[in-house]
Assembly symmetry: C2
Homo-oligomer: 124 residues x 2
């Protein structure tokens, strides 16, 4: 299910984190599903248990998982991670806006910018 790409320069825990997050976002792993244990997944991927632990820990911080000591890790409700992601995006957007204001951009400048973005069809 998960394949580690050793040509990828990013650390393993980050690759695992991203791929699991994708599976959750796409709904392949539905809420309250029990994740494989850190040790089991570590064996499957041939990595250290702490590496998986770190990935799980990140996913928990981002609201994708919740963990119960002695029982395991489970997929969170959709709203949990959706709200989390939205909050962070709002925070960074606000900061970017403040910076723009401080460097002299006017209210109209910024309004024009966001209008452009929202009129584009494709975004990435």
């Amino acid at each position: 299910m998960i394949i580690i790409d050793y040509r990828d320069k990013r650390p393993i825990y980050e690759q695992v984190t991203d791929k699991l997050a994708q599976l959750i976002i796409k709904g392949v792993l539905s809420p309250n599903t029990k994740m494989p244990s850190v040790r089991q997944l570590a064996i499957d991927l041939s990595v250290n248990a702490n590496t998986v632990q770190r990935a799980y820990s990140q996913l928990e911080q981002n609201g994708y998982l919740y963990s119960v000591v002695g029982k395991g890790n489970f997929v969170s409700e959709v709203n949990d991670w959706k709200n989390q992601a939205t909050k962070e995006n709002i925070a960074t957007l606000r900061q970017a806006c403040i910076n723009a204001k401080n460097c002299g951009l006017t209210y109209d400048d910024v309004k024009k910018l966001i209008k452009e973005v929202y009129e584009e069809k494709q975004t990435s």
Copy 2:
């Protein structure tokens, strides 16, 4: 004029870069002023010449300085660095806006956010 703080965890070249940038932004160093030579400033600060060179190099990249081989480094015109800083702010603002759009924020949500920012008195 410049004091290096060794309790500061940031690298020396970054401290020097920031403090010189502040002096330029505040107008203490006006356009076309000749900066101290890399070797001279290195002696004054008791650091290696390359460290100063790196700071100058960064300042040049950000449009604060221009250098002439064999002659020295000089403070740029105000518009040079102002435009540069503005460009970067616009780029990050646009990206933040795209992310917000992708995570489901509506056009009105974003408009409301920037309105708030521009109605605030103090910003940092």
